[in-house]
């Protein structure tokens, strides 16, 4: 009904003025802004706390901006914070996490992409059943498989080492990545595959020369998915590594939740931010691809 006078009057205020500040819109933006504050609050608090000195934290307001900006907590978190007897800061955990991350991401994506390719183009008797088991496995709570894996790793002599954790990440990343690649390869026209077969190309030739170049975007999605997932892992890190090889998340938890000494909240927050930095950078740099990755993760059923 409101549309009729608008069309006939053509007032001086220009086109479509009525939508800009309607009551509904104010309510809508108001809600979104208030909710945004809840989401941004922890990040803001972490940043300002990590830039304050301890005296200012003790007297002050957790939401207030720092009066005197200091980067000392960051330096301390990186190179001096203590876990137990070791006082070499988070840098050790960071190094471990990188050494875990790179081989895990490469290995898991290599295996999963070959799986996806074989499952969509080279089906054999039983291949679908193995795939179904794999997908069901993604829903089994990790707790049910933790101890058998301890035994397996002990048997092959990798318990407590970075290599062992790499294997664990490869195994548990496999269901979702295989699904991702299988769905992608299944969407590539089969004629392409058949033509290559007629030309005499074999399993690996088709994989490397046709499939991999075509699947580059999905490789990027898989990398994003794995890097954030493996970097953020805590459970496997705490169980399958020992203090010298703890990944960053485990070391962070030990630093912040250690009961000894005076709590230095600014150092703790700097350490927390340092740990969160890698996935945050990936998130903001990758934008839509990150969403695509989690959307792929979401449909894993």
């Amino acid at each position: 009904m409101a549309d009729i006078p608008k069309n006939t009057s053509q007032g001086p205020r220009g086109p479509k003025p009525k939508r800009a500040f309607s009551r509904g819109n104010i309510f809508l933006y108001g809600t979104l802004i208030v909710v945004s504050m809840y989401y941004l609050l922890p990040l803001y608090v972490m940043i300002v706390t990590s830039l304050k000195g301890m005296p200012e934290i003790r007297m002050g307001n957790v939401f207030g901006p720092p009066m005197e900006i200091t980067f000392e907590p960051w330096v301390k978190a990186w190179s001096e914070a203590c876990t137990g007897i070791n006082c070499d800061g988070l840098s050790r955990g960071f190094g471990n996490s990188v050494r875990i991350l790179i081989p895990s991401v490469l290995l898991s994506i290599m295996i999963a992409s070959v799986n996806g390719y074989a499952l969509s183009n080279w089906k054999f008797k039983g291949s679908e059943s193995f795939f179904t088991i794999l997908i069901i496995g993604a829903f089994i709570p990790y707790q049910t498989m933790l101890y058998p894996i301890v035994i397996m790793l002990r048997e092959i002599g990798l318990m407590g080492s970075i290599g062992g954790l790499v294997l664990v990440h490869t195994v548990f990343g496999m269901p979702i990545l295989t699904l991702l690649f299988r769905n992608y390869f299944a969407s590539i026209p089969e004629e392409l595959f058949k033509a290559a077969r007629v030309d005499g190309a074999g399993f690996w030739q088709i994989y490397f020369q046709i499939m991999v170049p075509m699947a580059l975007p999905i490789f990027v999605v898989a990398i994003i998915l794995q890097v954030t997932g493996i970097w953020n892992d805590f459970l496997f890190g705490v169980i399958y590594t020992k203090p010298a090889t703890y990944p960053m998340t485990v070391q962070l938890n030990n630093i912040v939740n250690s009961v000894q000494g005076v709590k230095e909240y600014n150092v703790n927050m700097a350490a927390t931010l340092l740990t969160g930095l890698v996935p945050l950078v990936i998130y903001f740099a990758s934008g839509k691809l990150f969403v695509r990755g989690i959307a792929a993760g979401a449909v894993k059923g």
């Binding site: 989401y39 990040l43 008797k125 291949s127 933790l146 058998p148 892992d233 969160g276 998130y283 903001f284």
Partner: protein, 306 residues
């Protein structure tokens, strides 16, 4: 599968052994087959089997029947864990769905800066539970955190200290958990909303149905599959709840924020009571099965018919 093997066999007169047909594909998927059979099936079966033993420090085969389960269900700590997970689970499920859908609906109203808002709602999901837990631990710190700030504003009797109050500690975890996870659900809901035909909106406008009513009466029923996916995702996440608790509360104060996943790990790796840990993890598996079977039935049972 048997269908496409027929022409191949007919072409090659020798009829090679079936085992070696496609042998490179089979060889290439050996890691997958091993993962599926040895780790997933084998590992799970092993744990279930050993949950009927009295293993303590090392797994042993001294069968004790259902003793571990009896002990489990009479353990205070386990009962607290279950109760906590129930409270957390129900609240988290309802709130995450409501918040996720509301935010998605807000973003779907053709607003400006949609990308900015979406990035803000989703970024916590990129962070680990450890980071989430530690950040909220600091904000909820009674002496320097939110409680202190609100008191300084003049409301001197303001009391919100979930990390030291056993009655509300689960809600402290809930605030953090929802902060971390609701962006994902928003994203899924938004994708669902984008899949709904514009004409629906035109039709309801013509009929004079209000916006909110359209969402509740028309859109939500249409989005049933999206809701089911979201539900399964949230439920799977809830059962896994572990890192957040370890980082934010450590299970305390006392035992008041213990959860089943933590119980399993503490008994297996700290208390050296393997059998008890196996029994508890088997119960976790059961709960997943209970959630998944109706869903799988709805999802795949329906698809086969269609």
């Amino acid at each position: 599968m048997t269908v496409d093997s027929e022409p191949l066999r007919a072409r090659s007169g020798k009829r090679p052994s079936r085992l070696f047909k496609n042998w490179m594909a089979k060889l290439a998927t050996v890691p997958m087959i091993l993962t599926a059979l040895v780790v997933f099936v084998g590992g799970t079966a092993w744990t279930i089997t050993y949950s009927f033993t009295g293993s303590r420090m090392l797994p042993k085969t001294n069968w004790v029947g259902l003793d571990q389960y009896e002990r489990l269900w009479s353990s205070d700590r386990w009962m607290i864990s279950i109760k906590n997970l129930g409270i957390y689970g129900i609240c988290s499920l309802v709130l995450t769905l409501v918040i996720g859908f509301t935010l998605a609906a807000c973003l779907d109203r053709k607003i400006r800066f949609e990308g900015v808002f979406r990035s803000i709602f989703l970024y916590p999901f990129a962070l680990s539970f450890v980071v989430t837990g530690l950040a909220w631990q600091w904000i909820l710190n009674p002496d320097f955190g939110m409680q202190n700030v609100v008191r300084d504003w003049g409301w001197t009797t303001f009391n919100f200290d979930p990390l030291n109050n056993p009655d509300i500690v689960m809600f402290g975890l809930l605030i953090a958990g929802i902060w971390q996870g609701s962006g994902l659900i928003m994203c899924i809901m938004l994708a669902g909303l984008r899949g709904i035909d514009e004409d629906i909106w035109k039709a309801t406008k013509v009929d004079g149905i209000g916006t909110v009513k359209t969402y509740v009466m028309v859109i939500i029923p249409m989005m049933r599959p999206v809701f089911v996916t979201a539900l399964v995702l949230i439920a799977a996440g809830i059962i896994k709840l572990y890192d957040l608790v370890v980082a934010q509360t450590g299970g305390g104060p006392g035992l008041s924020s213990e959860v089943p996943a933590k119980y399993v790990i503490e008994l297996m790796f700290r208390a050296q009571n393997l059998g008890q840990g196996f029994a508890a993890s088997t119960m976790m598996l059961c709960s997943v099965v209970i959630i998944l079977i109706p869903w799988a039935y709805l999802e795949f049972g329906g698809r086969k018919r269609g």
